[in-house]
Structures are given as C-alpha cells and as structure tokens.
C-alpha cells in the first residue's frame, strides 16, 4: 500500500488530487456563463457608451442552442469520471488533505475514488441521456409539459446536476463528519430541486415537496445526531470519533447520536422506515433523475453509513460484533422484505423500480450488517479482516453495477416518458414489437435486477451473499478439519439474512418478470403503436448500461479486484 501524502489545501499536489472536483467546478461556471453569452452590452453609467460584455441580450446561435447545457454538463461530468478513472488506473495515490490546524478534511484513496466514479458515472449518463429527453420548443400558449423546457431551464437542470455531483464528491472525500454532512446537504438540495423540476405538473411538484420535506426532517435528525456526537467527542473528525468510540462508545449519548445520524443516511439509502418518500419521489421525478436517486444518491447514503458504522462505530469496539448489529440487521430484513412486497403489487413501473431500489438497499444493509458481525480488527488474525474486505467488496461492486442496470432501466422508461408517460405498466406494452433492442435491453436490466445469471446483478448479489455467508461461517471450515463439529445454529445469525435475501430475490423475480411479459406479450397501448421518440444519446447511454451489465456479469473479475482494492483502502488497518 502506497504511502499517504498529507497536504494542505491549495498547496502542491492539491490540483492533481482535486482535479475531478475542479473540473466539476469549472463546468459549473461554464454552465452558468456560456448559455448566457449574447450580444449584451454594458452601458457605462452616465454615458451612452455601450461596451459589449457578451452577457445577456440576444444570444448567439451556439449559446442559444438548447442542447448546449446538456453537452457542457455531460462533458464536464464525463471528463470528471474519466479523470477519476485515469487516476484510478494510475494506481492509488492516497492523499490526505488537512486544514492548517491539522484537522483532516478530505482523504483521497481508492475507496473515495470508486464512489466518485459511481457518482460521476451515474450523473454523466443521466445528463447525457436527458439531452434529447427535454424537447425544446418555444413557449406557446398550448404546450405539453415536455415542451416547457427551453434552454434556460435546461441550464438550471444541468447546473443542479453538476452541483449534485460536487456535493457527492465532497461526501466521498470527507474525513470530517460535518464536512460530509455539508456535502450531503449540497447534493440533497440539488436533488430536491431536480425532483421538483417538473413544476408544471401536479405529480412533479408533489414528489418534490414530499422528498424535500421528509428529507429535511431526516437531515434535521441527522444534524442533531451530529451535534450530540460533537457534544460527546468534542470533534467530528472520523479519527477522533473512532478513537473516542473505542474508549467510551457504549454510553447513551454516542449511541443515540449514532442512531440519529443513521436516520439521516437511512433516508438517503431509502431504508425502511425512511423510504416512504422515495417511491413518491421516483414516480413524480423525471426518469433520469429518479435513476440518479436510485444509484448515485443511494451510493452516497451508503457511503455515509459505511463511514459512520465502520469507521466511527467500528465493530471491534465491543465484544467482537458491532453495537449496531441487531439494529442494522432488523433494518436490512425489514427493508428488503418491505421493498419487495410493495413492488410486487405495483402497477407503476417507476414506483416498482423505486420499491425494488428499497429492496436493494436492504440487500446492501444486510451486507453491511455482516461486516459488523465479526470482529475484523486486523489484530485478530485469520480470516476476519479478509471477510470484512470481501463484504465491502461486494457492497462496492453492487453499488457500481447498480448504476448500469438500475439507471439503465430508468433510462428506458425515460424514452417512454418523453412519449407521454410511463406511469402504468401497460405503457411498456408491445415494446418488443416497437423497438426490439430496447425491449431486450430492458429485459436484461430486469433479470439483472432480479439477479439472474449471467448478468452483473447476479454477480453482485452473489458477492453479497458470499460475503454474508463467509462471515456467518467464519473459521468453521478450518476448524472442522481440526475436528470441530458444527450445526446450522453455529453459524452466525446473519446467515439467515442471506436466506431471507435469496427468498426475497425469488419474490422480486415476480415483478421484474411482469415487466418482461408486458413488453414481449402485451399489445401497445392505444396511440402508442408507432415508433418511439428518436434520440441517439439516450440509446447510447442505454447501450453503455447494457454492455456494462452483460460484460461485468460475464467477466466481472477485474471489477471485483478494483472493488477489493478500494475496500482494502477503506481503513488504514486494512
């Protein structure tokens, strides 16, 4: 493992380390400025002299191009993504950015990098594929809601996308709980507005309001939890919190504080019972935005949970298993079951995907639970820390590939949405006849979500189950060789989470397949027999998702290794 370079902000190496964020920042500025470029002049006060300052007025042809903001955003996010990818491929330079007073602010390592990849990748895909989803026409007297997006509002849309990415990357890098929280709020506020972006429609604003109000309450609770932790530890630095937790972690104040913080992140990952707003939000938001919520935003929440639970309230603090073990186990079980059951009867594909996203959150929580089940402190020899790495690998892998097939599914819906809504299952009717390849893509996303081989979703679920089972089985394999006798009950109870998880994936097949059946079996809805809306960008994005889903499913070894590396870098000890 390479050495950690510690630098202060704006010193040597800072630009390299922060290059993705700087790219995003630049992109954001461009997004604000470029669409406003025009023949505007500035009249020097008191004179008739007008100096052209290129802002406002009649805009130039290129700056009034409705696709311009989307291109800028896509290129910005895409290059940020590529930048991270490049950095990643160059080996993991670990950089710790500290304040002048020595407080750790940001840590750049494999773990944060991979989350940045998830965030930027998801947002770049969403931005790129929204490009022709937002049809541009002049605002007439009678226009459909889709036609309302002139390029000025498009600029807003993409600015929010980029700020969202910025906020998320702050979350990824933060080494201070409060910094993390600020990043989280930045991203959250962006998503609130993005969800409510369809302000000309009832569902749009309603979903935005619900998402905003419930999200605010959750982050209010979380912030209060932070304040309690601060009151207890005197600092919100992870390193300090972890050290303090090891000493006096089991008192009431930190326990409740951690619980409150969990609420804040729980809302982001849409864990039960904080998930209620999520289906409404997904259903009301535009599909690409919903896709971002289900992937990047969820990854952000999960990242927060990981930081909180594994770094701060680390399992070795107590008798080997984490204090939050039961709590998280219950949460995982309830979340995955609830999500699947609710999705089972849902007729709205977007709600269905939302509930499925809740279920996937449950799977990830189960994985996280497994990490807490075993004392993975490096001091304990043997399989333990390797097991924890394995579970974390599974979690990261799941988050990464989720971008491909979850977002992909939403992108398919987005095409239908721009045609006139995708809020009923029957909207998908006859997709196989209308555009076979799109139906095949959707089919691949669905079976991947269900966890059917050979798709990426299967591999990710397999990894998660493997992680859980590995923790549950522990060292028994070796001990059996030495003469140990074990029964089912000797396995850690997280094994039952794995069982619940496989049963849940069996339930989930039911509703995923229903989508497939509708696409391949049912006739198109009336008035939707014709070809689907055109637009190559969204199709390219879907193709990218399909390829990722299939290729990772068939040959995911390198991604597993990348995730493993990232997982290893989560903790100095690992």
């Amino acid at each position: 493992m390479s050495k950690i370079t510690t630098i202060e902000p704006f010193t040597k190496g800072f630009v390299e380390a922060f290059s993705p964020e700087l790219i995003l920042f630049t992109g954001m500025l461009l997004l604000i400025l470029v669409p406003n470029l025009g023949k505007g002049t500035f009249r020097i006060p008191g004179t008739q002299l007008r100096l052209p300052w290129l802002m406002g007025g009649t805009r130039f042809k290129f700056s009034s191009d409705p696709r311009l903001p989307a291109w800028i955003a896509s290129i910005t996010l895409g290059s940020a993504f590529l930048n991270v990818l490049y950095v990643f491929s160059q080996g993991l330079d670990r950089v710790l950015i500290v304040s002048e007073s020595g407080k750790e602010l940001f840590l750049i390592n494999g773990f944060s990098r991979i989350f940045e990849m998830i965030f930027f990748g998801a947002l770049a895909l969403a931005a790129f594929s929204s490009m022709n989803r937002l049809q541009v026409k002049g605002i007439g007297s009678k226009v459909s809601e889709n036609e309302l997006y002139n390029n000025r509002r498009q600029a807003d849309f993409y600015i929010l996308m980029v700020t969202c990415a910025l906020g998320m990357s702050v979350v990824a890098l933060a080494q201070d709980l409060f910094v993390l929280f600020i990043g989280l709020e930045l991203a959250s506020f962006s998503t609130y507005v993005l969800v409510a972006f369809l302000k000309e429609s009832k569902v749009g604003v309603e979903s935005g309001m619900k998402y905003f109000i419930v999200g605010s309450v959750a982050s209010g609770v979380g912030l209060y939890g932070l304040s309690m932790l601060y009151l207890w530890a005197g600092s919100l630095q992870f390193s300090v919190l972890a050290a303090t937790f090891a000493v006096s972690g089991t008192t009431a104040l930190p326990m409740i504080g951690i619980g409150f913080v969990l609420v804040g992140f729980g809302f982001k990952v849409s864990a039960a019972p904080f998930h209620f707003a999520a289906p409404d939000a997904y259903a009301g938001a535009m599909s690409p935005v919903a896709g971002v919520l289900a992937t990047a935003s969820k990854a952000m929440g999960m990242l927060g949970l990981v930081r909180m639970l594994l770094i701060v309230a680390a399992p070795e603090s107590t008798d080997g298993s984490a204090v939050w073990l039961v709590c998280l186990g219950v949460m995982a079980a309830v979340t995955m079951t609830w999500g699947n059951l609710a999705a089972l009867g849902s007729d709205n594909p977007k709600r269905m995907l939302a509930y499925s996203s809740v279920a996937h959150a449950g799977y990830m929580l189960a994985a996280l639970t497994a990490v807490g089940a075993w004392n993975w402190d490096a001091a304990v020899a043997g399989d333990a820390s390797a097991a924890a790495v394995a579970v974390m690998t599974a979690l990261l892998f799941h988050l990464v590939v989720l971008v491909a097939f979850k977002l992909g599914a939403f992108l398919v819906l987005s095409i239908l949405e721009s045609e006139g809504g995708a809020s009923r299952l029957s909207s998908l009717g006859g997709l196989a006849k209308r555009e076979p390849l799109l139906a095949v893509a959707m089919f691949i996303f669905m079976i991947s979500l269900a966890g059917v081989p050979p798709m990426a979703g299967f591999l990710s679920k397999l990894l998660v189950i493997m992680g859980i089972v590995r923790v549950a089985v522990g060292d028994m394999g070796a001990e059996i060789t030495d003469g140990g006798i074990y029964a089912l009950g000797d396995m850690h109870w997280v094994w039952w989470l794995a069982l619940l998880m496989v049963l849940n994936s069996a339930i989930s097949v039911f509703y995923y397949l229903r989508v497939v059946v509708v696409m391949f079996f049912d006739e198109p809805e009336e008035g939707r027999e014709g070809p689907l809306p055109r637009g190559w960008q969204v199709r390219v994005a879907i193709l990218a998702c399909v390829l990722t889903t299939v290729l990772v499913g068939v040959a995911g070894d390198s991604l597993i290794r990348i995730c493993e590396m990232a997982a290893q870098s989560l903790n100095y000890n690992w």
Binding site: D482, G484, A487, V502, S505, V517
Partner: protein, 546 residues
C-alpha cells in the same frame, strides 16, 4: 485444439444464437419472414454439427475416450480456464459417463426438435432461441465449476421462458412466469446452499484452484475430492448437521426441477402452455437437469446425508410415482396428462436413487436417458394433435387411425413406449428400478405390499394411456364428425418434417430398448465407480446391504 467442449459444444450454439437474434431483431417484419427459412436451415445445420461432435465422441473419433472405465471424480475432455480468479471461479468443463449421455441426448434432441417444429411461426427468432436453449443445457451438463453450473442452470430458464411466453398457448403469460419464478425460487435456495458449502471449505490447508479473495474454490472435482475426507475426529465431511442442511438445500433446487411431488405444479402449467419445441426440450432434457444435479452434487458430496435422507427420498419418489400416475387418470387434457406422466416417471428416478444400489442408480440414469427420448415424442405427438385439431382435449378428435394414420401410429408408439412396453427404452429402467427397490426393501425387512403401490402404477399408467387412446385413435371413424375446432376443413395428417421427427424418435426408442447396453454400460460403469470410489469407502456399511 483438444478442447472439444468449450467452444464447439457450449460457446458455438450460444454465440451463434445471439448473433442470429441480434441480426434478426434489427430487421422488419417482412424481412424476418423471409429470413425464417435460411435461419431454420442454419440452426438445423448448427445443431447437426453438435450432434456429429458428440456422436464422434461416443465412437471415440474425437478425443479417443473410452466412456467406460473413467474412475470416480475423473473427467474426460477436462479443461480449466481461469475466469474469476478472485472467487476461485473457473471456466471448467469436462464430461464423465454421467454427463456424456445427457450431453448426447441434448445434441440429439436439438435437431429433432427443430425438425419436429419445422413450421413454427416466427421462425427467425424461434429457432435461434432453440439453439440457445441447447447451448445452455449442454453448459449445465459439462460444467465442472459450481458457479458455472449455476450460471448455466439459470441460463436455461431464459430461452425456455421466451419459448413459452412467445409461442405458447392461451395462458402462456401465467405459465411462463410460474415456470420461471417457481424454479428460480428453488434454485436460489440451492445457490445459498452452494455458497455455504463453498465457505465450509478449509482455506487454511492449501486448496487447488482457490480464489485469491476468498481462499476457497468453486471447482467441482476439488470439492468432490473433499467428500472423501474425514476429519481428525473421524467425523463426516463437514459434519453431520451441516451435511444434512446443505444436502436438503441443494436437493430442494433439484427436486423442484425434477419435479417431485409436491413441487411439481409448475410443470403441468408450463407443459400445457409451452409450444411443442419447448415441451420437447423441457421434458426431454430440462427435467433431467434435476436428476443430473442430484448425482453430480448432493450425492457425490454428501453420501452420509443421502443415507440419512434415504427414506425421505424414497417416500417422495414413491409419492411422485403414484401421485403423478393417479392424477393422470383424472385429466382430460392430453398434454396435461402427458405432463403428469413425466412427474410419475421422474418418481422412478427418485426411487432408483433412494435405493442406494448401483442397479437403482443405473436405473435412474437410464430412465433419465430413456425418458429423454420418449417424452419428446409424447410431446411431439401432443403438439401435432394440437396443431392439427386445434384442441388439446381428449376426445376432441376420434378415429385418428382413419384420418391421420401417421399421427395415430406415432401416438400409439409413444404411448406404449411411455407405459413401459418391453423392448422399448423405458422398460429396462423400470424393471431395474423395481428390482433394486425390492432388493432394498427386502433387505430392510419391508413387506412386499410396499411394492404393490409403485407396481400398480404400471397398471394405472396403462389405464390412462389406453383410455386416452380409446378416445383419440379408436372409435369414431365415419360416424364421428371431425372436431368443430377444424371449422369444416378436411382432417389433416401430420406434415413430413413431423413424420421424420417421429420416425427418428421411434427409431431410437427401439434402439435403446433393444440394445440398452449402448448407453447403459457406461452408466453402469459410472454407478460402480461412484460406489466403489466414494459411497462404500465413505459410508462403510449402510442400510440396504444384505
């Protein structure tokens, strides 16, 4: 190149079908109609290539492999390529005398199915899907890696799902989903069992082909090798309880696939709604995946658990046998009846396994093979019946012997083969199963009355088959009008490709009925190898020995 499996048998059909499908889905309706014939020919040729390869393997033309005398846990054409190193996953293929007959059967049924359903609608997509189905099925049988096995195991669901959904009967929507979900549910439980098994390996002692991240391996030969190990306390491999629970979890997946009562209700629905080609492959090969899996994994890995569950398996098997047959009697739908008869025949396999006798196992293996030839013919007949008379109800068309002598003859033949007429393929397995069963029961001191139930099934089987023939082949003649579903069209006989398919199937039914040793010898050899190489050394003395 000496890897005759990976690309030629598995990769080639899968890739070819994906290429064909991708090509077809980019074309319009009329183009697709024009493409149907060339694609049909292409898939036929492809599948014949597969058949030539496997037949060549049998005749030792390829690879010069003698299928008899492969010792336990050794495989021919064994090739391992690293696939997902971090998890200990390899692309690992190989065949032994257990899998080879199944592989041959698959490659044999594939062209026959294509021929039998020569005029299926939407041929441009139908035939490539059949080809994909074949590739996936072969993949299941040649996999020597748990992960790979599971991947192919599930992969078979997808083409079959589409076959039922796109070409099935009126209620295909329900049936295809039920089929998928039901078997998927069972196999995810199996997956959890596999993973738990995986982690019960000992990572401390160096394992072959272990994953870099996990320290364990998915390699079936390596894991099977462990089954022979005892720990220092003289305990069973993995210990009593763990073996039992893993055995049960794996068996659940296989029992549902087989299917055994009470996990069988997906089968009638799937069969009744599936198109002929789907039914043929489903009954011919897919059900056997269950039995194959049992032999390959739980039995080879957990002999002690098998001993523990012997009685349970026996009861499940007997119940399947009897229940399936009795339910058949109560059916009025031709295809449903045939579907339930499959349940009954799969009961034979289970009972054969439960006897824990080489003869019983050989009976089970031969039943897998024989039923794999007979049941496609049954379904081909059902399919032709439906195709020509637009009805599946027994009695919708009578006096077939006059109107459609070919179909009547095929039906008579298939029905007779299925009810276990001697010198047709099914008989040998049945009689061997009965001998092994009584051998076990007698050694355990059971009364002969326990034999009567399963044996009376033969009479019940005859009853429903004869009853259905009475109402289809016989009677009627001039007096009975053709079914109203024909709308006054003349009553047709089956078309030439169907005739050809029936002839091929009938021919091989006779061949393997008269000369069972062609396939049985290697199966026998496999049972002897596993008994002397695994069961007896591990179990020592167990129930059923005299």
């Amino acid at each position: 190149m000496d890897d005759w499996i990976s690309m030629p048998l598995v990769g080639f059909p899968l890739i070819a079908s994906i290429v064909l499908l991708a090509f077809v889905s980019n074309t319009n309706e009329s183009m697709r109609r024009r493409l149907a014939n060339p694609i049909r020919m292409a898939t036929l040729v492809f599948s014949l290539v597969l058949l030539v390869i496997t037949t060549g393997m049998f005749f030792q033309y390829f690879g010069n492999v003698s299928w008899e005398g492969i010792s336990f846990n050794n495989y021919e054409f064994l090739h391992r390529y690293s696939w997902m190193e971090s998890l200990g996953i390899h692309w690992s293929v190989g065949m032994d005398a257990l899998s080879f007959p199944m592989v041959w059967l698959t490659t044999f049924l594939l062209p026959v199915t294509i021929i039998a359903t020569w005029n299926e609608k939407n041929g441009a997509t139908y035939f490539p899907i059949l080809l994909a189905m074949g590739g996936a099925l072969i993949g299941v049988f040649v996999s020597l890696d748990l992960f790979m096995f599971y991947v192919f195991w599930e992969l078979t669901l997808i083409p079959m799902f589409f076959l039922i959904l796109m070409w099935g009967g009126a209620d295909r929507k329900y049936a295809s989903q039920k089929f998928f979900i039901y078997t998927f549910t069972a196999s995810v439980v199996m997956l959890l069992g596999l993973i738990t098994l995986y982690f019960f390996q000992d990572p401390v002692n160096p394992l072959d082909y272990a994953g870099s991240m996990t320290g364990r391996t998915f390699d079936i030969p390596t894991i099977t090798q462990h089954a022979l190990m005892e720990n220092s306390n003289g305990n069973w491999y993995l210990g009593t309880n763990i073996q039992k629970i893993l055995f049960a979890m794996l068996m659940l997946g296989f029992l549902v696939k087989l299917p055994a009562v009470p996990f069988h209700t997906w089968l009638p629905d799937a069969h009744v709604q599936a198109p002929t080609g789907g039914s043929m492959l489903l009954a011919g090969v897919m059900l056997k995946m269950g039995a194959y899996g049992m032999f390959r994994l739980p039995i080879s890995l957990f002999p002690h658990a098998l001993e523990y569950f012997q009685l349970a398996l026996l009861i499940i098997g007997m119940v399947s046998l009897v229940w399936g047959a009795i339910v058949c009697l109560g059916q009025t739908n031709l295809k449903k009846m045939v579907a339930y008869s499959s349940v009954s025949h799969m009961g034979v396999i289970l009972v054969g396994i439960a006897t824990m006798q080489p003869m019983g196992w050989a009976a089970a293996l031969f039943m897998m093979f024989a039923h794999g030839i007979i049941s496609p013919m049954l379904f081909a007949v059902c399919g032709a019946f439906k195709h020509h008379y637009h009805s599946m109800e027994i009695g919708a068309m009578r006096g077939m012997a006059k109107h459609s002598p070919w179909l009547a003859t095929s039906m008579m033949f298939a029905w007779m083969a299925s009810l276990g007429l001697p010198l047709l393929a099914g008989f040998v397995a049945e009689i061997m199963m009965f001998i092994a069963l009584w051998y076990f029961l007698a050694a355990e001191g059971w009364s002969v009355f326990w034999m009567v139930g399963p044996a009376l099934v033969l009479a019940v089987t005859a009853a429903y088959y004869l009853w259905s023939m009475q109402r289809t082949i016989f009677e009627g003649g001039d007096e009975t009008q053709p079914p109203s579903s024909l709308h006054g069209e003349p009553v047709p006989d089956i078309a030439n490709p169907e005739k050809l398919a029936m002839l091929i199937l009938a021919f091989f039914t006779i061949v393997f009925g008269v000369m069972p040793w062609i396939a049985l010898d290697m199966m026998h050899d496999w049972t002897i190898q596993i008994f002397e190489g695994l069961i007896l050394p591990v179990l020592g003395n167990f129930k059923g020995g005299a």
